[in-house]
């Protein structure tokens, strides 16, 4: 599989990795059967490989779905939004690809230089999204009522919210808790 760092090719690389892992897993199942295992035993003994290839197949499906949906959206979207959506797509594809570099080096023509370039593109993508990060999460349109978070409030007054919530703690509803008389005081007076 000829590696390049274009987004559709990286997504196809996930398919290439899945297919090659599937080929190997199938061979290993067959080898185990030939060595006298039942098909079920052979599958069980190939379980680690099978789980990993199923996961990579799924990650390929996720990336393909996201890419297709974003490209479709970009046809109707304004240019600024299309740029943001494509950057998001690039980031998630680079991020996922960097998690399977062993497989990419093994099953595609990816070289060490290609890997360095992929990392560079990933970092560029982070920097490109950074200025819009707050606006993107704003655009998810979660009201504070739904987020329910002192740190995530829209107005950003997080320290005030943290303090307000602490004041709602049941332990803050009285200045002295009964454990003082029951345990702390006797401990301090040596009467416990």
């Amino acid at each position: 599989f000829a590696w390049s760092d274009s987004i559709p090719v990286i997504i196809e690389a996930f398919q290439a990795v899945t297919a090659n892992r599937l080929r190997l897993a199938n061979e290993h199942i067959q080898q185990r059967i030939n060595a006298g295992r039942t098909p079920q035993e052979a599958i069980n003994e190939t379980g680690l490989e099978l789980v990993r290839l199923a996961e990579i197949h799924c990650r390929g499906f996720i990336l393909q779905s996201a890419y297709a949906a974003i490209e479709q959206a970009c046809q109707a979207a304004s240019q600024p939004l299309a740029e943001v959506l494509r950057e998001i797509c690039r980031l998630v594809v680079y991020d996922e690809a960097l998690r399977i570099t062993g497989d990419l080096l093994r099953f595609t023509t990816m070289s060490d230089n290609d890997l360095v370039e992929l990392q560079r593109k990933y970092e560029s993508s982070l920097a490109a999204i950074r200025p819009n990060a707050v606006s993107i999460v704003d655009a998810f349109d979660y009201p504070d009522f739904i987020l329910g978070s002192t740190l995530g409030v829209y107005d950003g007054n997080v320290y005030e919210r943290l303090f307000e919530d602490a004041m709602k703690s049941p332990l803050n509803q009285e200045p002295v808790n009964r454990t003082f008389e029951l345990y702390l005081k006797p401990l301090m007076r040596g009467k416990l």
Partner: protein, 474 residues
């Protein structure tokens, strides 16, 4: 508004409203979502009397029941005015009825809407839907979906609960033959539901016909007391997700009419003759539906966690990059960007792939209406692995977001605990993830062998053909 957030917002390069319309799925859906949120926010009974992270286990249950019933009653009232509430449109309100957004907690009625109602639609024939669907949709009965047992979960064939047909009385006798056969885990089962769809091994004419679904009333509708032959309760406290009221259920010679076996797919006649469903996967339809919902829901959990952490990372200032300048916003550290921005992107990608799976699910349902089951195995395979990846990534991603908020992220008032609780619960329920991956892998092995023979494959695995038909040259 915090000045750093104002500054961030002033740098925006795109139209946020345009993004939101796309994210939500269109202007109409956005308007409906905002109306719903506005309505919910305006209802005093939807507010927590005390923050839920300070209440006891019992108080939490009582408060979530209060809120869930209020939300259902009010939502129904709002929907009735506009559309009517029916089997066709109830899925549009699942985020309100089942999601933890409005509740900030798991909901004891969630399984009623996410699995009991779909279970009646997916497993019940027309006559049975007539009997139960409207009552369920309108909460005249409260249900849950009862499958997992103490001794068996993901491995369905291992379920022990028996449903034995008695031809003399035209009834089915349900039993829990051992402690490990006790149903264990279903949400809403503990103290909330009075009906349930029970998955049990059907026996008739001396033969076992495998796991089938049965509609069972478990509590009296007036007194809510458990019916004779039913032993029921709540399973106790958990790591999180405590509002969902998981329960246990044991049966002792509990009788139901034969017609309570849900017979849209398989059938049981008066003489005990069993007719198999046209595809063994048909009985798993409700589970596939639920997995689609899980994938959608967990992507939203991650998006919410990313929202919290990214906003806070712009408000919080920590350390200097250039010693001659003031402390920077935490998000200006590349390491922070490397933690949070991939979570943001991943939440979007997971949501888009769940949308894609939803389209596949709808298309497959239409195929089923005309008896075409060709794409069921493919749908089942992709729903298994997508459930596994989306839940695992969301749970891990929420935790990354929490850690990215430093010490304050450890406070429950940040809501990370509930988001994490919901995400990790989703990792745990509806199929153990490794087993789900193995189910997908078995399908892939099967289609790989078909590809080697040059056979046509379904769309999501069609790419395998080109690799199967040429040797590996690497």
């Amino acid at each position: 508004v915090n000045k750093d957030l104002l500054e961030e917002r002033s740098k925006c390069t795109f139209d946020k409203e345009e993004f939101t319309v796309w994210w939500v799925g269109g202007k109409d859906r956005l308007e409906e979502k905002r109306n719903r949120e506005q309505f919910c926010m305006s209802q005093p009974e939807f507010r927590d009397k005390t923050p839920l992270h300070y209440v006891s286990h019992k108080e939490l249950y009582e408060e979530t029941v209060r809120k869930a019933t209020a939300i259902f009653a009010k939502s129904k009232e709002m929907v009735q005015k506009k559309h009517g509430f029916n089997a066709g449109n109830f899925v549009n309100f699942l985020d309100v009825l089942c999601g933890d957004g409005f509740m900030h907690q798991a909901n004891p009625l969630a399984v009623h809407f996410s699995m009991f109602v779909p279970g009646i639609i997916g497993h019940g024939n027309a006559e049975q839907q007539e009997r139960w669907l409207d009552r369920a949709l309108n909460c005249k009965i409260l249900g849950t979906y009862v499958q997992t047992e103490l001794g068996h979960g993901t491995f369905l064939r291992g379920l022990e609960t028996t449903a034995t047909f008695d031809a003399e009385t035209d009834e089915i006798v349900i039993n829990s033959p051992s402690l490990t056969a006790y149903k264990w885990w279903p949400g809403g089962l503990g103290l909330t539901a009075n009906h349930c769809i029970v998955m049990a091994q059907l026996y008739s004419n001396g033969r076992c016909h495998g796991v089938n679904p049965f509609m069972v009333q478990i509590r009296d509708e007036d007194t809510h007391m458990p019916l004779p032959g039913i032993e029921i309760g709540e399973i106790g406290n958990k790591l999180g997700y405590n509002g969902v009221n998981n329960g246990f259920l044991g049966f002792k010679n509990f009788r139901i009419p034969r017609t309570n076996m849900l017979m849209k797919n398989a059938k049981l006649s008066h003489d005990g003759t069993y007719q198999k469903p046209i595809s063994s996967v048909l009985n798993y339809g409700t589970m596939v539906f639920t997995r689609v919902l899980i994938a959608l829901d967990t992507s939203q959990l991650l998006a919410r966690a990313a929202t919290i952490a990214i906003r806070y990372s712009c408000v919080r200032r920590q350390s200097v990059i250039d010693p001659s300048k003031p402390e920077v916003q935490v998000i200006d550290h590349q390491t922070q960007q490397g933690k949070l921005l991939p979570q943001l992107a991943k939440a979007i990608a997971l949501k888009l792939s769940a949308d894609n799976l939803w389209k596949m699910y709808e298309a497959t349902q239409m195929d089923l209406e005309v008896g075409n089951t060709d794409r069921l195995p493919e749908l089942h395979a992709i729903s298994c692995c997508l459930k596994a990846v989306s839940t695992a990534d969301s749970a891990a991603g929420v935790e990354v977001c929490r850690l990215a908020c430093g010490g304050h992220g450890y406070l429950t008032s940040t809501n990370f605990l509930n988001l994490y609780g919901s995400a990790t619960a989703a990792v745990t329920y509806e199929g153990e993830n490794t087993v789900l991956y193995l189910q997908t892998a078995r399908y892939l092995v099967k289609v790989w062998n078909q590809a080697l023979k040059g056979q046509q494959l379904m769309p999501t695995v069609r790419y395998l053909v080109q690799y199967a038909t040429k040797p590996n040259t690497r």
